[in-house]
Symmetry: C2
Subunit: 199 residues, 2 copies
């Protein structure tokens, strides 16, 4: 191909490495950057490096933070007696958006998945058990994804926590609020029936 | 919201400014950058600034280039007697991928669109007419998009070129190769019928 602009190809290649961004979309995004004001490219460029440099894991719960402790762990008003165990830092943000949960979190950074070569030793399970040893924690909420791997991870961890005499709970299964029963799958629907409450 | 990481929010905001990238996708991409090796953020960051700095318009045809002339205009073997008029630099790349076209290009950088406030004076039409005045050009191929605005732009420009005694052609309309007749719209199909060739 005679039409070849090195710096444009390089930018396209970097965009194409992002998850869910194919070659065509990457090219479109690279063109956008080139036609946008120079200030945008500069700010975007700085944001990339700054975020990567300043964001790291909370030394207590392994959520993302730019300080030593994440804002949840650092918050005196949060109940340190309840730990919500999630697989991904994004899940912490999802729970925080509900503004309902007053406990703290523990991020596993993955789920057990033998097919992908992820064993329990690659997750932050040891760190979780260490946090439970101080006797402050009354309840652990298993909030891994409702998938096969998520379920397996939750029950694997539960086996270690139960003997410590700490209550372990799991998120409720059921039909999503605002959803359409017609489109609910059979498993979700039968779980919603099982877990029905008196009104 | 108590969960707030300034540098992560800034990166998410920059991603969200890209066309077709919503808030959720932007967050997903920002998280990817943070979990990827540091080298990625650094290279991506440099690619953004480099591309924006080095890529500009070819002084002859207004395509994108990182030299004074784009690789097509600088190529001695290309036929300077045929100019293919396109609306967008991406279209040049599309034609170059065919490896069929041996002429040169002219990029208008848009189409006439009164609703969006784009009049003929905002496009590189003056520059095109200036290129035609030296008597070298034998044919101008109108290759704007087959949309209402693209057609209008093509016929607007044609009105200026015809009196100069230069041949003006338009891309053939018809059914796309590999397409399914069943899904072709009526206008495309009737244009394909009109333009039928003896075999």
């Amino acid at each position: 191909m005679s039409y070849n602009i090195v710096s444009l190809n390089e930018l396209t290649a970097q965009f194409a490495k992002l998850p869910g961004i194919g070659k065509k979309t990457a090219q479109r995004l690279a063109f956008y950057v080139i036609t946008a004001p120079e200030e945008y490219a500069v700010r975007f460029s700085q944001a990339l490096v700054n975020a990567k440099k300043s964001v790291h894991l909370c030394k207590n719960c392994n959520a993302l933070t730019d300080s030593e402790l994440c804002s949840v762990c650092a918050d005196e008003s949060r109940d340190k007696g309840i730990i919500c165990v999630v697989s991904d830092p994004k899940d912490v943000m999802a729970f925080e958006r509900t503004r309902e949960y007053k406990g703290v979190y523990h991020v596993l950074h993955g789920v057990i998945s033998p097919l992908d070569g992820v064993g329990p030793e690659k997750l932050k399970i040891k760190e979780l058990l260490a946090r439970l040893s101080d006797g402050v924690v009354r309840e652990v909420i298993m909030a891994t994804d409702p998938t096969v791997e998520g379920e397996a991870t939750a029950s694997y961890i539960t086996r270690f926590i139960k003997p410590m005499g700490i209550k372990v709970t799991r998120l409720a299964y059921g039909v999503p609020v605002g959803g359409n029963l017609e489109y609910a799958d059979e498993v979700t629907l039968s779980r919603a029936l099982e877990g029905r409450n008196e009104i």
